[in-house]
């Protein structure tokens, strides 16, 4: 469970309503793959990941980023039940995809940086705090069904 104050909840909702989920997803995933290149290990089928430019403009990266962020968006609507919301995805990431849950934390942190980039001063320390709590909650929910 994520424990957000009423102010944090409304800050998250307000900011998220302005997020272009399609673009931000691709950017976050792209930045993850560039800044932490070992994360590329999960994306052998994505084609050209040979340079930052190649990664950021790769259509499969953009498409997958969009998919990931739409999922994340669902989480935001269910902050009181993240474990339930992400149960199936957690099983998928463990049983089929074999993704180390550490990667969820890395992506969450990159997403926070992308939001900071888009929103500038509006991304205050308090707003950052709220979002860091959310991405941690989502990462924990995605790791919950690992066995």
């Amino acid at each position: 469970m994520v424990h957000l104050t009423a102010e944090e909840k409304s800050a998250v909702t307000a900011l998220w309503s302005k997020v272009k989920v399609d673009e931000v997803g691709g950017e976050a995933l792209g930045r993850l793959l560039v800044v932490y290149p070992w994360t590329q290990r999960f994306f052998d089928s994505f084609g050209d990941l040979s340079s930052p430019n190649a990664i950021m403009s790769n259509p499969k990266v953009k498409a997958h980023g969009k998919k990931v962020l739409n999922s994340f968006s669902d989480g935001l609507k269910n902050l009181d039940n993240l474990k339930g919301t992400f149960a199936k995805l957690s099983e998928l990431h463990c049983d089929q995809l074999h993704v180390d849950p550490e990667n969820f934390k890395l992506l969450g942190n990159v997403l926070v940086c992308v939001l900071a980039r888009h929103f500038g001063k509006e991304f205050t320390p308090q707003v950052q705090g709220a979002f860091q709590k959310v991405v941690t909650g989502v990462a924990n929910a995605l790791a919950h069904k690992y066995h």
Binding site: G30, R31, V34, V35, Y36, P52, I55, M56, N109, V112, C113, V114, A116, R117, H118, F119, G120, K121, F123, P125, Q126, Q128, G129, Q132
Partner: protein, 141 residues
């Protein structure tokens, strides 16, 4: 460790920070304390709600040290040796805290540079600051 391109990225970003060490450092610390309150345990001399003057003073000190690291990217170990001693013998900041500080550093950069905060800058600074953290904790045991 850092490629030529990465060194250029580090230096370019530093040019934007230089002269603003205090305000950058203050915002860095404010974010660190707000987002990761447990980090305040290392700053009990600043109290539970450090004021702006305290954040500016300490923030400046920290960013000036980053500036030293930028000037000596080729030899961090020698340049940061006194600070490494300080962290090992006196401060003893648990190594798990450095990634938290680095995350806040990236957020300050991203929120100020916005459109200019390229993925190459983010990658170079993450690698550079991680290298600094390694040197600062190297003498712990």
């Amino acid at each position: 460790m850092l490629s030529t391109q990465e060194r250029i990225q580090v230096a370019q970003v530093w040019d934007l920070i230089a002269g603003h060490e205090a305000s950058f450092g203050a915002e860095l610390l404010l974010r660190l304390f707000t987002v990761y309150p447990s980090t305040k345990s290392y700053f009990k001399h600043l109290g539970f709600c450090p004021d702006e003057t305290q954040l500016l003073t300490h923030g400046q000190r920290m960013l000036e040290a980053v500036g030293v690291a930028v000037q000596h990217m080729d030899n961090l170990r020698a340049a940061l040796s006194p600070l490494a001693d300080l962290h090992a013998q006196v401060l003893r900041v648990d190594p798990s805290n450095f990634p938290l500080l680095i995350q806040c550093f990236q957020v300050v950069l991203a929120s100020h540079l916005q459109g200019e905060f390229t993925v190459e800058m983010q990658a170079a600074w993450d690698k550079f600051l991680t290298g600094v953290a390694v040197v600062l904790t190297e003498k712990y045991r």
